[in-house]
């Protein structure tokens, strides 16, 4: 090769190397991106969201029209696959209204408030960091907006748990993908369209029931008790599980009355996922409705298992009480939790 040709080749290689170097982007710290994603957005927005959930052998697709105004006011209109707006949920930050359009009924409900949880937000973030590895893997565009892509994997098994697309400017989670223990996709959420108009009409976050609508109060009430307080409030000794899946910690208990029966709701968190155990009288019969159920064997007897969009539901009787476990966990894990309830 002549000197001239060698020089040209060297220059070409150098240029290519320089371009490659420039393309290596400066990626932010995953923890900082996740904190931005977990915070309430500072700017109001309006968007259209598409959600698909896979559970058991079923799939469910829905759309939402979302209006959000800081710090925590929102209006969500849930549209089913036929295009019908089935429910409207409006919150002024303290009170929520759920309007069931088809039946002309309005539910007034008080949502749980993260500020009152026994596990503070910093503790919960520490739990997340302890149980999961998070990494910003790059940038992608969602709904026309540049986002950081964050992958979250289990620390022990490196299993992918979530992938999040977080708006670089506002911290809004514009897309998420959740995975089951076997690696299959459990659900996807994606903003198809989003706008940040600066301010939104205040009327969007006020709810006036339509004339003739029946207004009722939801049976659900928030509560965040320690075990001993729950025993006094509920009048029954709590029977929590003796074994928990790796990374899960007890958060609090709530006491929920239902038609004369008292439910204790034990709440557990691993920083990302929630698990719930309900304890109630044996005379309670859980009606699975449209969800398919199947019998499963476990030590000490049998149980009923169902698959819902929110995870698996395991229900069994034990020593004069009935227990229900809800979580996005493998059946073997749920069974082990259940068998440790004594």
């Amino acid at each position: 090769m002549s000197t001239k040709r060698a020089l040209i080749a060297l220059l070409a290689l150098s240029a290519a190397a320089w371009r490659a170097g420039a393309a290596v982007e400066e990626l932010p710290d995953a923890a900082e991106v996740l904190r931005a994603g977990a915070s309430h957005p500072a700017a109001p927005y309006t968007g259209e969201v598409s959600v698909v959930t896979w559970y058991g052998k079923r799939t469910r697709a829905k759309e939402l029209l979302v209006h959000f105004s800081p710090p925590n006011r929102f209006r969500r209109e849930i549209v089913d696959h036929s295009g019908y707006t089935a429910q409207i949920v409006v919150s002024d930050g303290k009170q929520e209204w759920v309007y069931d359009r088809a039946h002309g009924r309005v539910w007034k409900t008080t949502p749980e408030d993260a500020d009152y949880k026994l596990l503070g937000p910093e503790e919960e973030f520490d739990l997340l960091a302890q149980n999961y590895d998070s990494r910003v893997t790059g940038q992608e565009t969602v709904a026309g907006r540049p986002c950081w892509v964050v992958e979250i994997r289990g620390q022990k098994d490196s299993r992918s748990v979530r992938t999040l697309w977080i708006d670089q400017k506002t911290g809004v989670m514009l897309q998420t993908k959740s995975f089951l223990a076997d690696g299959t996709v459990a659900s996807t959420m994606r903003f198809v369209k989003i706008e940040f108009p600066g301010e939104l009409d205040e009327e969007l976050f006020r709810f006036t029931p339509p004339v003739g609508a029946v207004v009722v109060k939801s049976k659900l009430k928030p509560g965040y008790l320690e075990l001993e307080d729950a025993r006094i409030a509920g009048g029954v000794p709590p029977v929590p599980p003796k074994w928990l899946p790796n990374g899960y910690v007890f958060e609090s208990v709530n006491v929920l009355p239902y038609n004369g029966s008292t439910f204790l709701h034990f709440k557990y968190s691993d920083g990302i996922d929630a698990m719930s155990l309900f304890q109630c009288p044996k005379s309670v019969r859980l009606d699975f409705g449209d969800l398919a159920e199947e019998p499963v064997r476990m030590a000490g007897g049998s149980a009923r298992l169902s698959f819902g969009p929110d995870g698996k539901i395991l229900e069994w009787p034990r020593q004069g009480q009935r227990f229900v476990l809800v979580g996005n966990l493998p059946l073997e894990t749920l069974r082990r939790v259940a068998e440790s309830v004594q």
């Binding site: 977990a38 919960e124 979250i152 109060k217 239902y258 929630a274 019969r285 819902g308 229900v324």
Partner: protein, 171 residues
């Protein structure tokens, strides 16, 4: 029934009582989206249901309890320990007790009380799975990286299916 044809009164009544089957309920949901007349009928049925539920039961006549117990003892003697005889005697007792309007109302009240007692204390409390799922999701919403939009596609239906406190207001 198609979405465009108004459902019959009985079916609409079943719908208000949540006794229509899921596919009928779905068709009525879609029909109500476009039919103001049927929405008005649904509201009227809902108000009637509330009004009936809030009606007080008639008072129990003082001598009725003694009469019922006497009838029960006679019926038991006739049955001579046979379970078929006991069932027959029970229905004879019931027939005798409903011979008068007051007796009918009181017997209905007694049966309702027994049924409620059995349901409350022994026969089981039916709880829709949506009650526990709604409570779970209310908690799941408070997680730092909660999949809020996904949860909100399920939670409203779960809240409405979980049931409500008895008091209702019509706006």
């Amino acid at each position: 029934m198609t979405e465009n044809i108004c459902p019959a009164g009985e079916l609409l009544s079943a719908y208000v009582d949540r006794e229509a089957n899921p596919s009928e309920e779905r068709r009525i949901d879609l029909h109500l989206a476009d039919c103001g007349a049927c929405r008005s009928r649904v509201r009227s049925l809902g108000r009637l249901k509330t009004a009936v539920r809030n009606q007080p039961l008639p008072p129990l006549p003082a001598a009725l309890k003694a009469d019922l117990l006497a009838l029960a003892r006679d019926a038991q003697a006739r049955a001579e320990g046979s379970w078929r005889g006991r069932i027959k005697a029970f229905f004879e007792l019931l027939a005798a007790s409903v011979a008068t309007p007051a007796g009918a109302a009181a017997a209905a009240a007694l049966l309702l009380a027994l049924a409620w007692g059995g349901w409350r204390f022994g026969a089981g409390t039916n709880v829709p799975v949506d009650f526990v799922l709604a409570a779970h999701n209310e908690y799941a919403r408070t997680m730092p990286l909660a999949a809020t939009e996904r949860i909100m596609t399920e939670l409203p239906v779960q809240i409405t299916s979980a049931g409500s406190e008895d008091k209702e207001d019509v706006y």
